[in-house]
């Protein structure tokens, strides 16, 4: 373990000029050559700030006061330029689409070399070499909009590797990828680390997905401080993750429910390698058999129905939707899942009337929607976009929420009443007089949901409702949606977050290449190998845990886990909130 120290934080602190309190306190962290570390922590814990300090965006783009010392290869970063640092540290940003600055794959990879004045033939040779390293060399002349999310990320990785850096930083590499592609991304990072010998820093709050490949250490941050810096096995055996609001892997949660004690010598960081002895397996089996309850199936009233819907984007050949038939019952909470380009977003656009179907019928409560305009449909079907900034156009919360009513000519006193109701439902009543710019991302999301709810729709469709949210905000948004759902609003969510569908959706409709390939309970879908593969999903670790403990019906085990979570754990959580 006598590897060379690359990076060292020593009593380091940082305060942004625009803020009164420091964002980082007393950071002590050492990174050696070839190490892989995962930095985890809730939103606002300071992990992005820490990364910006390493890659030089602080202090070159974001100004503030630094204290203590931060050295890169023995040199204080204060004495280096951002360009000096860029030769040592390569950063792959979360949004690989915005990071794509070149017109084509090859140009984007070449970008750093161009800036370094590398001339031909070196330039072309190096680009080709790196492109084949990440496996994107068949797409050299492709423009970004011709690539999938996973391919764009490969290009970003290549664009950083081209510079032969010592440290690779991945900022939330899994945020915009579907589960299967996320798995490939972790494989790629792992392979690149081995081939280049670089030090890898991954910033991510999806612990379970990152741990698909081994990491040496996990640095857990909370409120601007490092609260743990230990091996994954040690960290998973402690209670630190729960204290910080970072989600532990599902199989660990299940084991804890079953009363199994987690210790480092059991290797909890990887289910495959984990030691589960007979006694522990028996505990899990007992827990599973403890209370298996019958599900109550209520009567179902059909709300939204699509029959044989076909749609092709103008100017393209392929049918984006090819004979879609689905039905959503009133009061249901349903997830639509599938890869990018599978047709799930297109389907929601067709429902909202943004695009006109070529064939097929869509009905709401039995009424054909074809003759209704976008505006008329919106009174019955609410659509919430992924990025709230794409919807917000007013300065004040109240005006934003009232907008849909004002454009419909509803009298002011009525507006007042309905806005109040919507704000109260969304927990924004206290903030009603605030400007929207003062809100957090999650609160903005609530404003957009309130702005839709005020029109009193029968169903709301949400595009990736929790994208980019940490576990606490994720839970907050999803509990809020569940609450709405309990009040009778039908909820349709487009997502590729498997936890979300497993925990919150009653049912999932799986899209693949314009077809519906499955429409079933989530626990059935996430344990069906064929569907998982086709829809680029990932098997839930709960299923593997069941098999490992000798439970034959893995699917039923998953269902049991979810029922347990919903009925016991969540009730406790909401009780806590009351006394909070």
């Amino acid at each position: 373990m006598d590897r060379k120290i690359l990076l060292k934080f020593d009593g380091f602190g940082f305060k942004y000029n625009a803020q009164s309190e420091p964002t980082l306190y007393d950071i002590n962290l050492t990174l050696r050559r070839g190490e892989r570390i995962l930095i985890a922590g809730p939103s606002g814990c300071g992990k992005s700030t820490l990364v910006h300090c390493i890659n030089g965006l602080i202090p070159f783009s974001y100004k503030g006061e630094m204290s203590g010392s931060l050295t890169l290869k023995g040199r204080e970063t204060k004495d280096m330029s951002i360009f000096d640092i860029s030769h040592i540290v390569g950063t792959v940003l979360q949004d690989s689409d915005a990071q794509f600055v070149g017109m084509t794959v090859a140009e984007d990879i070449a970008f750093a070399l161009e800036n370094d004045c590398i001339a031909d033939p070196m330039l072309h040779d190096r680009v080709k070499e790196v492109a084949s390293m990440v496996g994107i060399d068949d797409h050299m002349r492709h423009a970004p909009d011709e690539l999938s999310g996973g391919q764009k990320q490969r290009v970003s990785v290549a664009g950083v590797l081209v510079d032969d850096v010592d440290i690779l930083i991945f900022d939330e590499p899994l945020a915009n990828l579907d589960p299967a592609t996320g798995k490939q991304a972790m494989d790629l990072i792992d392979r690149m680390q081995q081939e280049t010998g670089a030090t890898v820093i991954i910033v991510e709050h999806r612990l379970e997905d990152v741990l698909h490949r081994p990491v040496d250490r996990i640095v857990l941050m909370n409120k601007g401080r490092i609260v743990a810096d230990s091996t994954p096995d040690e960290l998973l055996s402690s209670d630190e993750l729960n204290k910080c609001g970072v989600r532990e892997p599902l199989y660990i949660t299940a084991l804890k429910y079953a009363g199994v004690s987690i210790t480092p010598d059991k290797h909890p960081s990887s289910l495959g390698r984990m030691v589960i002895d007979d006694a522990d397996a028996r505990k899990v089996t007992d827990w599973y058999h403890m209370n298996t309850r019958a599900v109550k199936e209520g009567t179902r009233e059909e709300l939204l129905k699509a029959e044989g819907v076909v749609f092709t984007y103008p100017g393209t050949e392929r049918k984006a939707l090819d004979g879609i038939s689905v039905s959503v019952g009133r009061g249901e909470m349903t997830a639509i899942v599938g890869t990018n380009g599978a047709g799930k977003s297109t389907f929601s656009k067709v429902i909202c009337g943004f695009e006109k179907t070529d064939e097929g019928i869509i009905t709401l409560s039995g009424e054909d929607l074809a003759s209704l305009s976008i505006k008329e449909r919106a009174e019955r079907i609410g659509y919430v976009m992924q990025n709230p900034n794409q919807m917000i156009s007013k300065v004040w919360i109240k005006d934003e929420v009232a907008m849909g009513l004002r454009t419909r000519g509803v009298p002011e006193d009525k507006i007042e009443e309905r806005v109040e109701k919507a704000l109260k439902i969304c927990g924004l009543w206290k903030m009603r007089k605030w400007p929207i710019s003062a809100l957090s991302f999650g609160q903005k999301k609530r404003v957009t949901i309130a702005a839709i709810l005020v029109l009193d729709p029968e169903i709301i469709i949400l595009d990736e409702p929790t994208a980019g949210q940490d576990y606490r905000h994720y839970t907050e948004i999803m509990e809020f949606l569940t609450e709405l759902n309990r009040k009778g609003i039908t909820v349709l969510m487009i997502t590729h977050d498997m936890h979300l569908m497993l925990e919150y959706a009653d049912r999932a409709i799986v899209f693949s290449r314009g077809h519906v390939i499955a429409d079933d309970k989530c626990y059935n879908i996430l344990t069906d190998k064929k569907i998982i593969k086709e829809a680029s999903l990932k098997e839930t670790s709960l299923y593997d845990l069941a098999l490992k403990c000798g439970i034959e019906d893995g699917t039923d085990f998953v269902k049991h886990f979810i029922d347990h979570e919903r009925e016991t754990v969540r009730v406790e959580q909401s009780m806590e909130e009351v006394y909070d």
């Binding site: 860029s86 909202c352 659509y383 976009m385 156009s393």
Partner: protein, 275 residues
Amino acid sequence: MTNLFNYIDRPSPVHRLTGATKFVCLMLWSFAAMSTYDTRMLAALVIGSMIIFKVGRIKIKDVSFMLGFTAVFLVINSIMIFVFSPRHGTEIYGTCTFLWGMSGRYALTAEQLFYHLNYLLKYLSTIPIVLLFVCTTNPSEFASSLNKIGIKYSVSYAVALALRYIPDIQKQYHEISQAGQARGIEMTKKASFTGRIKAAAGILIPLIMSSMERIDIISNAMELRGFGKGKKRTWYMGRPFKVQDILAMAGCGLLVALAAYLAYVNGGRYYNPFI
């Protein structure tokens, strides 16, 4: 995808010229065509441009939209000239030959018709060259070309970035306007003029806000990869000048010289057959 450039990749001698060459040639050719009113030279340029267009292997149907657009523009322009200045030809050529025994302010004169003919020839000699430039220049190479002819690389790269992100912004605009319409922003003709201005604001504000977010990320991404480090940078798509590039530019340079020579011989920009 709609884009400012409509690059069509078909191997031809015109495609093989570098973007910088094509840009310089376009400038020189247009300058020659715009400066001279010598009908003989304009006619030669028209024939020349048609031949080069053919060599570039661009088909009429590839550019039919742009052709139609310029045709409409040309017609309107000609009508306006005649409406506002029906004796422009007479002023230039110094004679006044009424045709078909007409008289009055809007009577046709041979001089006016001749002036319009020259005007038409100017258009016909430049349009094919402009279209050819747009269709045979690879947009990524264009940025490197601008840099090569002396424009600062940060400015050249801004052009490339704009081309890169225009489709994204179009897509975003489309999405935002759909969501806006769902909330009742009326974008159709049903709304009054002020109503539509307000509606546009309702879409532009979110568009600007989300674009600002993006710009922040992009500029960080570029800095992290060393953009702006040196006074110079190389270009992956850049190509060195070859013999044909020098020849093409020299040829176009000669055209400008010819236009200047003709101006000297004719004693002005106009070739006058009426004296």
